[in-house]
Every structure is written in structure tokens, then in C-alpha cells.
């Protein structure tokens, strides 16, 4: 059904984007068209997340550089961060080992965390992306200096449909956890005094021939 919904939704969103420039930016008609654009885009995202969760594929691991994936994520959000008044900080380890992972899936995880972070910083702020090498693991952290995550919510963040975010599907972090687990890793959230929300993705360093552990949570 989701596929059948997407086609008319794409048409509505696409034509609304075509109409938008024909109205003055300050006019009520333009605001109405912009709402159609935004809401159709939101429904597209919800559909994608529902489908992704329903059929989450097992990772297809290949040797990959985590720095490259993180940089791709930064490139995707740099404009949105600027518009939201969020300063992007990078704190990357000097040299990370090559990892065996599904780059598309890990990119999806990090992009989800970064976009959540940007959306949480409604009035601007700082978002820090950092990487570390910890013996047999590497860690990527996404930290924001907005409001802390309430203790009661920390346990619920990764549970499907437990979201408190307006317009969210409640699946983004659940999908992220599923993907990270499929890679034999962990994802955690915590709060500190300076950084209200810190999400950490921990991934194992594997030898290229060692694919054990992939998909064990499938």
C-alpha cells in the first residue's frame, strides 16, 4: 500500500513546488502552497521509514572508511545547519582503521542522529560530530547543546513508536538501533552538563574476512 500512496503524494508535492514561485513569498497563497510542500515531504519521509522498518535488509558489509561516511553526512546537512543557526563542530580521531560495514546503512544511522539533533536545536546552538578509536571498536558521537534528555525518556528513545517529536514516525531511532545491532555494534544516548544530548554509535573493528556477527539480530 505504501508504494501506491507514494505515487500520488510525489505528484502533489512536485506540482506544489512548481506552483510556489508563482506567488509572492509574503502572500497567504504562498504560505498555503509551502504547507502542501512541507507536509507532502513529511509524508514521504514517514512512508520511507515505515517501509524501511518493515523490510530492513541485512547489512552488506564492505571495507569502508568511517571518516568518509561522516563527511558525507556533514555535506548533506551543512546547509540545513546554517539555516537553523546551528554551528557544526568536528572532532575527528587522527586515523581510524578501515571498517567492515554497510556504508549506506551506517550513513542512514548517522544522518538520522544529526537531523534529530538539528531539529532539537530550534533556537540554534552547537552540534558536535566526533570519532574515537577504542582498541577493538570505533565510536561516533553526535552531541547537541540543547535541552537535556529527561531520564525517563532515555530508555524509550529506541523503542518503535515511542517518539515525542511532532511529525515523527517514531521509527527513526528504532531503525538506527536495528542497523547498528546488525553490525554487531551498540547505540546509546546520555546527557551531560554541557551537551544536553549525546548519541554514541559504537562499531566493532573487524578483519576483512571476518563477517561473523553480521545480521545476528535479524
Amino acid at each position: 500500500v505504501a508504494h501506491e500512496i507514494r505515487t500520488p503524494l510525489v505528484a502533489m508535492g512536485g506540482f506544489a513546488r512548481r506552483l510556489a514561485p508563482h506567488f509572492l513569498e509574503s502572500s497567504p497563497e504562498r504560505k498555503a502552497v509551502d504547507i502542501i510542500v512541507d507536509e507532502s515531504a513529511r509524508l514521504e519521509r514517514l512512508l520511507s521509514e515505515q517501509l524501511e522498518f518493515a523490510r530492513l535488509s541485512r547489512p552488506r558489509p564492505r571495507p569502508a572508511q568511517l571518516e568518509g561516511i561522516v563527511e558525507e553526512v556533514v555535506e548533506l546537512v551543512v546547509e540545513e545547519a546554517r539555516c537553523r543557526g546551528v554551528e557544526l563542530l568536528r572532532d575527528f580521531a587522527a586515523a581510524l582503521p578501515t571498517l567492515l560495514l554497510d556504508a549506506d546503512q551506517i550513513k542512514q544511522v548517522l544522518l538520522n542522529l544529526v537531523q534529530n539533533g538539528l531539529e532539537s536545536l530550534a533556537g540554534g546552538g552547537r552540534l558536535r560530530l566526533s570519532t574515537r578509536h577504542l582498541d577493538s571498536h570505533v565510536a561516533v558521537e553526535v552531541a547537541t547543546d540543547g535541552a537535556p534528555i529527561p531520564d525517563a525518556m532515555l530508555d524509550q528513545l529506541f523503542v518503535p513508536f515511542a517518539t515525542s517529536k511532532r511529525g515523527g514516525s517514531g521509527l527513526g531511532l528504532a531503525i538506527a538501533r536495528q542497523i547498528v545491532r546488525e553490525h554487531g555494534g551498540q547505540i546509546r544516548a546520555r546527557s551531560e552538563s554541557e551537551w544536553g544530548a549525546i548519541f554514541t554509535v559504537i562499531l566493532p573493528v573487524r578483519h576483512h574476512q571476518d563477517r561473523r556477527g553480521f545480521g545476528r539480530h535479524a
Partner: protein, 124 residues
């Protein structure tokens, strides 16, 4: 200006894509099935193909297999509502796999990218 063939069985989306790419200065033809795509390719020798997957009477993948028998270097973008097959598109002989969106910026960027590569420079 390039010749773009759009293979899309939803009339509204076909109209949307045609309008957008004509405004970008391309010569656009739209067809609604894989069978019609094969005919249009022989007739017009397009520079690039935007291909939906799920169509009747011949779906996009069957059409793509037949296209690749004779047109190895024709750039093909699979543009679909089905995200499930993204990992497989290269084995089918497509150059890109996009999920349909009302925001056409990624589709347009992919068209520009593929048209900028010389024939034969995309895949081995």
C-alpha cells in the same frame, strides 16, 4: 540539449517530469510501459532514460534487460516508489537508483551527472 526518454505509467508524474526537464532545455518523450520504451529507444536514440520499475505490459526491469542487450552505454536512472531493491540496481545494468520524490533536485542532479560523463565512461 539532450534527448530524455521518461518511462512512467502514472500520467501525472509523467507530466510533472516532462514539464520539469523540458524547462531545463531537454527534448523529452514520455511513454508508459517497458514495451513502448523499447520502441521509442529504437526510434529516437535518447541520450538518457528515466525508468519506472512497476509497469504493464512489460515492467521496467524486463525492459532494462532487453535494452542492455543492444544499448550498453545508454545511461539509465531507475526512478521508483520501491526502496527495497536499491542494493541490486548495478547488477541490473542501471546507472542510478532513486526513490520517487516530489523534490526533484536529486533526480535532476543525477541526470546532469550522467549526461556529463562521456559514453562508455560510467560502467565497465
Amino acid at each position: 540539449m539532450s534527448r530524455i526518454l521518461i518511462v512512467e505509467d502514472d500520467a501525472n508524474l509523467s507530466f510533472l517530469y516532462a514539464t520539469e526537464f523540458e524547462e531545463e532545455g531537454h527534448d523529452v518523450e514520455t511513454v508508459a510501459s517497458g514495451a513502448a520504451a523499447l520502441d521509442a529507444i529504437e526510434r529516437r536514440a535518447p541520450d538518457l532514460l528515466i525508468l519506472d520499475i512497476k509497469m504493464e505490459p512489460m515492467d521496467g526491469l524486463e525492459a532494462l534487460g532487453r535494452i542492455r542487450e543492444r544499448h550498453h552505454h545508454l545511461p539509465v536512472i531507475i526512478n521508483t516508489a520501491y526502496p527495497a531493491f536499491k542494493a541490486d540496481f548495478a547488477t541490473w545494468g542501471a546507472d542510478a537508483y532513486l526513490i520517487k520524490s516530489g523534490d526533484l533536485s536529486e533526480l535532476k542532479a543525477t541526470v546532469r551527472r550522467l549526461l556529463a560523463v562521456p559514453p562508455g565512461g560510467r560502467r565497465p
